[in-house]
């Protein structure tokens, strides 16, 4: 049976012209606005659960509340007690999963979460001010420096937030269950209105 290769689609409506990259239909827009909101849903997302003090935890190397980028460029997020989230390039979920599959003392589960979550990136000097309209967490450098991760309510949706600055500019990855993605995007976009927010297309990573 010959099928056209299936096209994956993000839950976020693409702004402007679209293109296909890595099997995903994504926005081809490029914005250089001071505040940008971009769909990052195509990135591979892997959920890992393992005992807190075990080998998997040691290998992942971050604890709940912080994130690091490993030698492969994967962002490893300590997203909860005994929970990690791995974010990598589109299509690499299986590879990410394979990297953490080690024996451990307790139950370990690794789950490709790519299609279950919406992921977006908010970047710009006013990103914190924008997010502060929707999220009750203190986003100051003092409390939430680069590579801090937390889960809280953003626009009334349980959202994983990772501060992951880009070239010294404040930037946040926001991540929620897929069906609420458009709601979260719309709320962020509305909040960023006074700072001249623009949608940005998909560019890796």
């Amino acid at each position: 049976m010959s099928e056209a290769l299936p096209i994956a689609r993000s839950p976020l409506r693409a702004a402007g012209p679209v293109e296909t990259r890595s099997g995903w239909e994504v926005s081809a827009l490029r914005s250089d606005a001071a505040l940008r909101l971009a769909d990052r849903t195509p990135m591979a997302k892997v959920l890992v659960r393992a005992p807190g003090g075990g080998q998997v935890a040691a290998r992942l190397g971050v604890t709940n509340g912080s994130a690091r980028r490993d030698e492969h460029g994967t962002l490893i997020v300590g997203s909860g007690p005994g929970d990690w989230l791995l974010l990598g390039a589109p299509g690499c979920a299986a590879e990410l999963a394979a990297r953490v599959e080690v024996e451990d003392d307790g139950l370990v589960s690794v789950l490709d979460y790519t299609h279950g979550r919406a992921l977006m990136r908010l970047t710009g000097p006013a990103a914190a001010q924008t997010l502060a309209k929707l999220c009750p967490i203190d986003l100051s450098d003092r409390h939430t420096p680069d590579h801090t991760a937390f889960r809280s309510s953003v626009a009334q949706v349980a959202t994983d937030v990772v501060r992951d600055d880009v070239d010294g500019t404040a930037s946040y990855l926001l991540h929620c269950e897929r069906s609420s993605g458009q709601h979260l995007f719309d709320a962020l976009y509305d909040a960023g209105g006074e700072f001249g927010i623009e949608p940005d297309g998909f560019a890796e990573p």
């Binding site: 709940n64 509340g65 909860g80 007690p81 929970d83 009750p136 937390f150 889960r151 809280s152 309510s153 009334q156 949706v157 349980a158 929620c176 269950e177 609420s180």
Partner: protein
């Protein structure tokens, strides 16, 4: 908006949590008398003062968290380290009579 000290996430607004009831023991379901069982189902201490209770961190770590709360002032302290909080009442959203139940943010 008082705050609850989550052992995993730090101080968080109470709005991130669901109250899961006072900490209480579940009677042995094989041997409980109707009176014991229904006391467990329906009767809480309902004290005006310090109470041990369980909260579910719905918007955070999704863990059931034991705390002590003063029910008059809403001051909250971490629970003493001790046995895990005992059985939590089911979330209100599953009340089968409520036509608008469920379907929360996540």
């Amino acid at each position: 908006m008082f705050q609850i000290p989550c052992p995993h996430c730090g101080l968080r607004n109470v709005a991130e949590f669901r109250h899961a009831g006072e900490q209480r023991r579940r009677p042995d379901p094989q041997t409980a008398t109707p009176e014991e069982w229904r006391t467990y189902l329906y009767t809480q201490a309902n004290d005006a003062g310090w109470t041990r209770e369980t909260w579910y961190h719905r918007f955070g770590c999704r863990r059931f968290v034991g705390v002590q709360r003063h029910t008059v002032t809403n001051e909250v302290r971490p629970a003493d380290t001790g046995p895990a909080p005992s059985v939590a009442s089911p979330p209100a959203g599953i009340d089968a009579g409520a036509p608008d139940a469920g379907g929360g943010a996540m």
